[in-house]
């Protein structure tokens, strides 16, 4: 299961990343393996998405969300 497959309001726990470069940037922002992620909303045009992670909102593109593997 990838983060990009979640619908608005659904939650998941980060398992691993498929892209090294992206993982470094995501982890820096608090999006680490073991963290719970909730999809808050999707932009009006369908991309990017907004997620809630460790208490704040982060926006990222669907392509980037696809690199996050959920448990």
């Amino acid at each position: 299961m990838r983060l990009s497959q979640l619908e608005v309001g659904e939650k998941g726990i980060v398992k691993e990343f498929t892209d090294l470069e992206m993982s470094v940037k995501l982890m820096e922002m608090g999006c680490l393996p073991g963290e719970e992620i909730r999809v808050e909303r999707i932009a009006p045009l369908g991309d990017p998405i907004a997620i809630n992670v460790s208490g704040y909102q982060l926006s990222l593109r669907k392509r980037e969300a696809f690199t996050i593997v959920l448990q």
Binding site: L20, S23, L26, G30, A50, S54, S59, L60
Partner: protein
């Protein structure tokens, strides 16, 4: 100004760092540049309780000391470079008490550089409201540094923070957090030994960042590169390992010191606002309504102060002409320097209002939602959600807008944004358009409500946006990107704007605009003055002799005679000669040599057009006497055919030229400053000139 202690402010974006900076320093601040890079350096001064004076440096907000953009790279180089005159004696790390986990990552990295640190625990009021209970004493004990709870917005806890700054240790006493050296033991040891660095984290960071650091010699940097190869060091893997180790330390620390309520996920106010503001339909309607309101305000609110400034300069010029003896020096000062200055100053109200709006939109958190909504659309044409801000700003002035592209991390996205921003109809084009539209478009309403002239002007604005988007798409195809684009961005909680910050931003931006653009404009206007005031050989003497003949002095009124002489002199000045030289080139566009002079002078700044037209059609006065410029241009006839010069075709051809041509010395200068390479302003100048010529030609041929 001398300071006894140098303090750097470091923190995540949206933690109230700028608010704290403003509270500490007040108006006692200035924006400068870090040597060699184009990152704004905000420095201010603050009196400490013990009577010493502290210099406070506000470093750009960042999530870690691994830089993702040009702005962020300055943080590590300021903190790490011991030989740099800006190296701080003390770092104040600002943490958002309501979001400690992510904030602590940056703190731990800074602390490991072993510079004395004080923690300012900001937004304590918000944390209390959310029932987050922080054991500050235990927190401070575990980290080994002074921790001061504050609320910068409410100006709470500022005196204890100043006390902590003045009592801070000269040596770093913070506890170690993770075993940094274990990430790459041999590499850290070798770099430390060869470059004589005893701090393992500094050595590790040099391995990560040596390519961009200016304080390493090329030989040192090369040696680090060799060592990395020798120990097969992978920068990203090492950064990942470090981040995971730090977060595990942070989790342990927070488990002991912070109690959070375990409540279910309930709908926050911010979320409710987002449901409306980023709604599929309302989101865009609200965004366009905000934009419309902004333009209206920029034009209507600035009209009165702009008129005041313009009148003030006319008054100064008049009085100086009366007080000073007439001669070339007075003329240079009054008609060259002061006239040029007034051209800059008159834009201050518009720039101040634009920056007030941008700073309100950013402060409230709305700008990041606009970025969020527009990203997909902008990406299609090679831009980025973050390009929206400079493009909107371009309606006022391209100069500060190009400066604001620094937040775009991706190189290609940033270059394209810089290249197309000057196409957007800026406020300097407004006087040109209004004059030309008034000349050829009838002032009447169609369909009861729409004024034809207003429609023509609106059309020029929309046309400029469309052309910017088309050109961006073309550059997307042409330019080769070096790096992958990504869009990982925090969406901060909605907040009321902090009026102090809005005011400071207005003040600082206007000030730096006046000084940066002002220098260029004054220089160019002096050159223009020389070109328009002197001519080759003895042409000017001949004109004086010619008009001193009795048939002129006897029959003409002195005023008319002066105008006739001025007009003849302009035609024979260097500028006039140049106008005649380029006439064959611009004739296909419908322009004569007089318009040619205006085109040349407008390359300094577009708004010079009206003034030049006024001089050429020998009207005394400047842009303020629009009526009379209008009259003269309206009555201007082609000497050969007897037809009016400014027909619909000529006026629209001219507007097309002004829409596309890079007629702004300040923009050229700022593009060079931002890209550090003459190639970019050259490419921009070339493509815009070609577009201008082609568009003008088409407009003239179609409408003729």
């Amino acid at each position: 100004m001398k300071a006894d202690i140098r303090v750097a402010l470091v923190g995540n974006p949206n933690t109230g760092k700028s608010t704290l900076f403003n509270v500490l320093t007040g108006l006692n601040q200035k924006i400068g540049n870090f040597p060699g890079v184009t990152v704004d350096k905000k420095v201010g001064y603050c009196q400490l309780p013990d009577g010493r004076r502290a210099e406070i440096i506000d470093l750009p907000g960042t999530y870690s000391i691994y830089p993702k953009s040009q702005d962020e790279s300055i943080v590590f180089s300021v903190l790490a470079d011991k030989s740099n005159p800006h190296t701080p004696d003390l770092v104040v790390v600002i943490l958002d008490a309501s979001n400690l986990k992510r904030n602590l990552l940056l703190y731990l990295q800074v602390a490991d550089l072993k510079i004395p640190v004080v923690i300012a625990l900001n937004m304590m009021d918000l944390a209390k409201k959310a029932d987050i209970d922080i054991d500050v004493d235990l927190f401070a004990k575990k980290l080994g540094v002074p921790v001061v709870p504050i609320s910068a917005r409410k100006v709470d806890g500022i005196t204890p923070l100043k006390d902590a700054i003045s009592f801070a240790n000269k040596i770093a006493l913070q506890e170690d957090s993770i075993d940094v050296a274990s990430i790459a033991p041999q590499l850290v040891e070798s770099i430390g030994r060869e470059l004589n660095i005893d701090n393992p984290y500094l050595a590790l960071q040099l391995a990560h960042q040596h390519e961009t650091l200016t304080f390493l010699t090329p030989a040192q940097s090369e040696r680090v590169e060799e060592l990395e190869k020798e120990f097969s060091f992978n920068s990203q893997k090492a950064q990942g390992a470090e981040t995971i180790a730090r977060y595990s330390f942070i989790n342990d620390l927070l488990y002991d010191t912070v109690k959070k309520p375990v409540t279910a996920h309930d709908e926050t106010v911010s979320n409710k606002i987002d449901k409306v503001l980023t709604h599929k339909i309302f989101g865009f309607i609200i965004f366009f309504a905000v934009l419309m309101f902004m333009f209206q305000a920029i034009f209507s609110w600035s009209a009165f102060p702009m008129a005041l400034i313009a009148d003030g300069f006319v008054w100064i010029q008049d009085s100086l002409h009366h007080v000073l003896p007439s001669g070339p020096l007075t003329s240079l000062l009054v008609d060259g320097v002061i006239a040029g200055l007034s051209g800059v100053m008159v834009f201050i109200p518009q720039i101040a209002i634009l920056f007030a709006f941008i700073s309100i939109l950013e402060d409230t958190g709305y700008m990041s939602r606009v970025t969020f909504m527009m990203d997909k659309l902008m990406r299609k044409v090679g831009l980025n959600g973050k390009s929206v801000v400079p493009l909107i700003g371009g309606f006022a002035c391209a100069v500060p807008s190009i400066m604001s592209t620094r937040t775009i991390e991706n190189w290609k996205d940033r270059m394209i944004t810089i290249l197309v921003t000057p196409l957007v109809t800026c406020s300097a084009r407004l006087p040109v358009y209004t004059l030309l539209i008034a000349l050829v478009v009838p002032n009447r309403n169609i369909w009861w409500v729409f004024n034809l002239q207003g429609l023509a002007l609106t059309g020029m604005y929309i046309f400029s946006l469309i052309s910017a988007i088309v050109v961006a798409w073309v550059f997307k195809v042409i330019l080769k990107g070096k790096e992958r684009g990504y869009f990982i961005m925090e969406l901060p909680v909605y907040r009321m704007p902090r009026w102090n910050n809005v005011f400071y931003s207005m003040y600082e931006r206007s000030k730096s605009f006046v000084f940066q653009a002002g220098k260029v404009i004054i220089a160019v206007s002096v050159i223009l003055w020389v070109m328009a005031s002197y001519g080759p050989g003895d042409r000017f003497e001949k004109i004086d002799q010619h008009f001193s003949a009795p048939q002129y002095t006897k029959t003409m009124k002195p005023d008319d005679l002066d105008r006739a002489i001025a007009s003849a002199k302009l035609e024979n000045s260097y500028a006039g000669v140049l106008g005649h030289v380029i006439e064959p080139v611009i004739r296909p566009l419908g322009f004569d040599w007089k318009i040619g002079i205006a085109l040349i002078t407008s390359f300094a700044a577009r708004e010079v057009f009206v003034g030049t037209m006024a001089t050429i059609y020998s009207v005394n006065g400047s842009a303020e006497k629009m009526e009379s410029v209008y009259q003269k241009m309206h009555e201007a006839k082609n000497p050969k055919t007897g037809q009016p010069v400014f027909t619909l075709a000529v006026a629209f051809s001219l507007m097309m030229f002004y829409a596309f041509a890079m007629q702004c010395a300040s923009t050229v200068a700022v593009v060079y400053r931002e890209t550090k390479n003459w190639r970019w302003p050259a490419i921009q100048f070339a493509y815009m000139t070609v577009l201008a010529y082609v568009a003008s030609f088409i407009a003239y041929v179609v409408l003729k």
